[in-house]
């Protein structure tokens, strides 16, 4: 067997993402919402706003404030997780927020705030990047102006091989984990973390693999938003049943 045919714990090839799907507009009450499934990951995002920021003295005169909470449900992990926010969740809420802040045109909404609630219902590795990917779709669905979409993917080193979209097993056993998020059209990195051990060459290879994975997921984000528009056009228009869509 050649090196190219290295097979991963779950049977994937090194460049293969887990099965994924994104759906937009899944929560009726939210201004924008989306869910992502990536392997066994199931993450739901609800966006509320822009709305007037409270308390008022904290509001910014020149831009909106983003509140972001990344939260894992107690039943999302093998060992029950305490519902109380952990230090990990606080850190991830911060890095996800700063990643999304790069894309949202905050200056359009002075004195206002936008709430982004990320609920990880089932976790199977790489949840932070999947959360960003879904949150970006939810922001777009809310009609919040964005400079670009934000899409994330991870790469890692497992049994000496660089692989894309690190699963839970691989993250535990693996030598390194590299989650990234990008703005695919502006070609900018908005989230970058790494822990483990990588040489500079391995880092480059992992970065490129994560980038390619993110670009693949970007197509799914677009499909989800197009799907939403198609769904909207299916709503029968009032009156004379004209053929015009939206």
């Amino acid at each position: 067997m050649s090196k190219e045919e290295f097979i991963r714990v779950d049977g994937r090839k090194p460049d293969e993402l887990r099965k994924y799907s994104i759906n937009a507009g899944i929560l009726k009450n939210a201004d924008g919402s989306a869910e992502i499934r990536l392997g066994k990951n199931w993450i739901v995002v609800g966006v509320y706003g822009p709305k007037e920021h409270f308390p008022k003295f904290e509001a910014l005169q020149d831009r909106a404030i983003i509140n972001c909470r990344y939260h894992m449900a107690p039943y999302s992990t093998t060992e029950r997780k305490s519902p109380k926010p952990s230090r990990r969740e606080i850190e991830l809420s911060k890095v996800i927020r700063t990643a999304l802040e790069q894309a949202v045109i905050l200056e359009k909404f002075p004195e206002m705030s936008i709430d982004i609630f990320i609920e990880v219902l089932q976790a199977e590795g790489s949840t932070r990047v999947a959360s960003i990917t879904a949150a970006s779709v939810a922001l777009a669905e809310a009609g919040i102006p964005l400079r670009d979409m934000v899409v994330g993917c991870s790469a890692g080193k497992v049994s000496g091989k660089i692989v894309v979209d690190v699963g839970e097993e691989e993250d535990k056993e693996g030598e390194a984990d590299l989650p990234i998020a990008i703005m695919p059209n502006l070609k900018r990195v908005v989230l970058l973390q790494m822990d483990g051990k990588l040489t500079h060459e391995e880092f480059k290879e992992a970065f490129e693999k994560a980038l390619a994975g993110a670009l693949e997921l970007y197509e799914e984000q677009k499909r989800a938003l197009k799907g939403l528009i198609e769904k909207m056009s299916e709503i029968p228009s009032e009156g004379d049943g004209n053929e015009q869509g939206v």
Binding site: R88, T98, V189, L191, Q193, M194, D195, G196, K197
Partner: protein
């Protein structure tokens, strides 16, 4: 108020404007080169009550680190592995913005980046510090405090943690094993000591961007005005053990340019630690 100036004192706003003016011209407010660190002073053994300690002065930034050892129960998923706990706090003395109370998200992020820089580096051989397999292991505490925050606290905190661990003395585990009945966490400081052995030296280097200018060791006001901040931690082998984009965004090319600059600077800091006799080799 705009986001940038909200809650800031007038002198801080002026310092930010000054940093902006200088960086725009490719210069620093304190006259340094873009790729130059501020003077680093490392004093070890500054807290006599701890098993290991260090005070690091990086320009006007001051970090105090204490290392302590306790006997602990291992985690069920790693019964033959010592435990490392790293926690950092920015004290209310550190700046006009610092507040007492539970750590905010920036402090938690800082502390977790320092934690990962140590944990993933192999600085500690966790297998070496098992007292009774599955029952008792060494619990290693690295606690650091920022006394004065003039920026780049992660780089300074990692230097402090390395210096405190490298010069720490630990309780003799053989003695503890022979006297298991009598030794507990209340009298562990009276147990005969041995030098603590570190296996690797991680060095964290934060790179800042202002427009297209890339620079190292940002001061607090330079951090405020920077478009991006990213920290890379390197090992003596040249491998990377931790990365964190702390602020802003980077182009794909700049991720690698900053990586190279961080590596170059890690060698410099490593040499300083060697010259001062804090680490060997």
């Amino acid at each position: 108020m705009s986001k940038e100036y909200k809650g800031k004192t007038l002198s801080e706003i002026l310092r930010m404007e000054q940093a902006r003016n200088f960086l725009g011209k490719g210069m620093r407010e304190d006259g340094r080169e873009l790729t130059q660190y501020r003077p680093i002073d490392i004093k070890v053994g500054t807290i006599e009550k701890a098993f290991g300690s260090a005070t690091v002065y990086l320009g006007d930034t001051i970090v105090v680190t204490g290392v302590n050892f306790e006997i602990g129960t291992p985690f069920t998923d790693s019964p033959d592995s010592a435990i490392l706990l790293v926690e950092g706090e920015i004290l209310p003395t550190a700046s006009f913005e610092a507040e007492a109370g539970p750590p905010d998200e920036y402090e938690i992020e800082m502390s977790r980046v320092v934690d990962r820089s140590l944990r993933e580096s192999g600085i500690i051989d966790f297998k070496k510090y098992v007292i009774v397999p599955g029952e008792a292991v060494l619990k290693i505490f690295v606690d650091f405090n920022i006394l004065n925050d003039d920026g780049n606290i992660i780089d300074a905190a990692v230097i402090g943690a390395v210096a405190a661990l490298a010069t720490a003395e630990m309780p003799d585990l053989d003695y503890i094993r022979e006297n298991l009945e009598n030794v507990n966490n209340n009298n562990i400081k009276e147990v005969p000591r041995k030098p603590f052995q570190i296996e690797e030296v991680p060095i964290a280097n934060t790179i800042a961007m202002y427009g297209d200018k890339m620079f190292v060791d940002p001061t607090a006001s330079e951090e405020e005005v920077a478009d991006a901040l990213i920290t890379y931690t390197h090992l003596s082998t040249g491998e990377i053990c931790s990365i964190q984009l702390l602020k802003g965004s980077l182009s794909y090319e700049d991720v690698f340019k900053a990586l190279d600059l961080a590596y170059e600077k890690s060698i410099e800091i490593r040499n300083i630690l060697r010259e001062r006799g804090i680490i060997s080799g």
